[in-house]
Every structure is written in C-alpha cells, then in structure tokens.
C-alpha cells in the first residue's frame, strides 16, 4: 500500500461545465457578483452539512436543536474557507459542486468523530486483547480445525506490535470508528489505516505459517 498513488488511467480531462465555470469565475476576488456567489455557496454548503450530519446522526448521541445547527454552521463555514483557499487547485475533474461538497463531507466527518470521541472515548478494554472478544470465541458446533484456527489467530494478534494490536482489536473486533480511534491515539486516519492494513497482512501470513490459511475471497473492484 505504501507509496501507491491513484490517478485516472486516461489523460483526457473534461472541460468545465457551464455551471462550474460560473462558480469559479464568480468566486474569484474582484468579480462583481462575488458576494452573491459566496452567499449562494454558503447556503448550499450548509444544506449539505445538515444532510450529512443527519446521515451520521447515530454517532452524535443526543445532539439536537441549536447544538446540531451550530455543528452544521461550523462545518459549512470551515468548508467555505477551505474552498476559497484552494479555488486555484480546482482542476475540473468533477463538477465544481461535487468538489466543493467534498470539503463539507470531510469537515462533518472530522467534527462528528471529535464529538463521538468526547462523548464516548474508546475504553482501554476496546484497545486490548486481555479479555478475548466473543468474536474470537469458539462455538460448540465448530470443527476442530476451526477452533485451532481461532487459537492461532488469537496467538497471532498477541504477537502484533502494540500499535498494530490496539488498532486491529479496536476497529476489527470492537467496531471503534477509525476516526475516533485516530483522535484517541493522537494520530490520523491514514496512519491508523496503514496500521490496520499491516496488521491484517501480518495476521493472514501468521495463520498461513501456522497451517491455518484463510481462504482468500476473490473481491472484484466495485
């Protein structure tokens, strides 16, 4: 995974559509309609923020009313600042609105994670393998080979580096949201994902070495 870049396989870049062109032109300093364009963009960013916060409501606990509205306003404001700061970076690989909405989604994502972390930070138990989670417990109907595979997996988890183990246990076994864990560990999503990726690779290899390989499903790219 390290160092992999992703980019279009084709070099042709679509020209800007008419609406995207209007947005970019009118948002530039000095344009006579800039104030109106800023107000209009702020309005749609707020709509997107409210929608996205509603979509992630399960992570917001009891947040409602003015507090919910305040979160949406903050996300829209922060996104607008980021958009204006990066306006020259917009390359037209998407519609302007999709590009702009990406900033709101990222703002909402970060604010929801920070809120969830303050409301319910991951417990120490969710990062440690002291107590074997139910997920790793053998069931009465399991065949001997399956029970041995679980034992091998538990041993392999124990042999991970401390960071890999706490990331794998928290995310894969205890469903701690990746962004909440990143905040709790003073890290960021990309670094935590790398820890998770490396842990999964190492666990899979350890199981294979122990004679209990995991059948690899053929997953087509969606």
């Amino acid at each position: 995974m390290r160092g992999v870049r992703d980019g279009p396989n084709v070099t042709a870049r679509p020209g800007l559509d008419a609406e995207s062109t209007l947005w970019v032109e009118q948002l530039r300093p000095g344009h006579p309609r800039r104030d109106q364009a800023l107000a209009r963009l702020r309005e749609v960013l707020l709509r997107v923020a409210i929608h996205e916060l509603s979509r992630r409501r399960s992570q917001l606990g009891s947040v409602a009313g003015p507090e919910f509205e305040d979160l949406a306003q903050q996300a829209a404001d922060d996104a607008l600042l980021a958009i204006l700061a990066k306006l020259d970076d917009f390359q037209g690989l998407s519609r302007f609105t999709t590009w702009a909405y990406k900033f709101v989604i990222f703002e909402v994502s970060g604010k929801v994670a920070r809120h969830a972390w303050r409301r319910q930070p991951p417990s120490a138990d969710e990062l440690r393998l002291d107590r074997r989670p139910d997920l790793l417990a053998a069931r009465p109907g399991d065949r001997l080979e399956q029970r041995e595979q679980l034992e091998a997996l538990a041993d392999a988890i124990g042999a991970l580096s401390e960071r890999q183990r706490e990331v794998f246990v928290a995310i894969a076994l205890n469903d701690v949201p990746i962004d909440v864990l990143a905040i709790a560990l003073g890290s960021n999503r990309n670094a935590i994902y790398k820890n998770l990726f490396d842990a999964r690779r190492r666990l899979r290899a350890s199981l294979a070495e122990a004679g209990h390989p995991v059948a690899r499903e053929d997953v087509p790219a969606s």
Binding site: M1, E19, V48, S94, Y101, K102, I105, F197
Partner: protein
C-alpha cells in the same frame, strides 16, 4: 466468526490499495464518474480497492455520493 468468509473479511488487505490520502484527492472525480454511470473503478483502481476496506473513506464516499446526487445541480444565482 469461524465462517471462512467472515474471517476473510476481518483480515482483508488487498493488493493495490491506494490508501486514504490518494482517495481524498480524487473522491469528487470518482463520485461524478459513478453518477454518470461510468466505471470509476477502472479509472481509479487503487481507490476502488481502498473503499472496500476503509470504513472512514467508505463513509465519506457514501456521503459525497448522496450529496452530489441530491444537491449537485446548485448554481450561482
């Protein structure tokens, strides 16, 4: 847990995964290709793979896809 498919999901780390940062840069282009009915995974294979296994980027992708679908037509007044 001992269902082989479940274990494979739990330990999934696919070759060609572009990671979170690469996807952040092109997520808008990826989503617009999807909305246009085009093959976003062919254009951005590393991100398509990444979105299968990163819950944070999956959530961002799903949110952006929905926002672009619902509010994508907004234009300046």
């Amino acid at each position: 847990m001992t269902d082989p498919r479940h274990l494979d999901d739990l330990l999934r780390a696919l070759d060609g995964d572009a990671g979170c940062t690469a996807g952040e840069d092109i997520l808008d282009a990826y989503v617009d290709l999807e909305l246009a009915g085009k093959d976003a995974a062919r254009e951005f294979p590393g991100t398509a793979i990444h979105l299968q296994t990163c819950p944070g980027c999956q959530a961002d992708h799903d949110g952006l896809l929905e926002a672009a679908r619902r509010f994508g037509d907004a234009a300046p007044d």
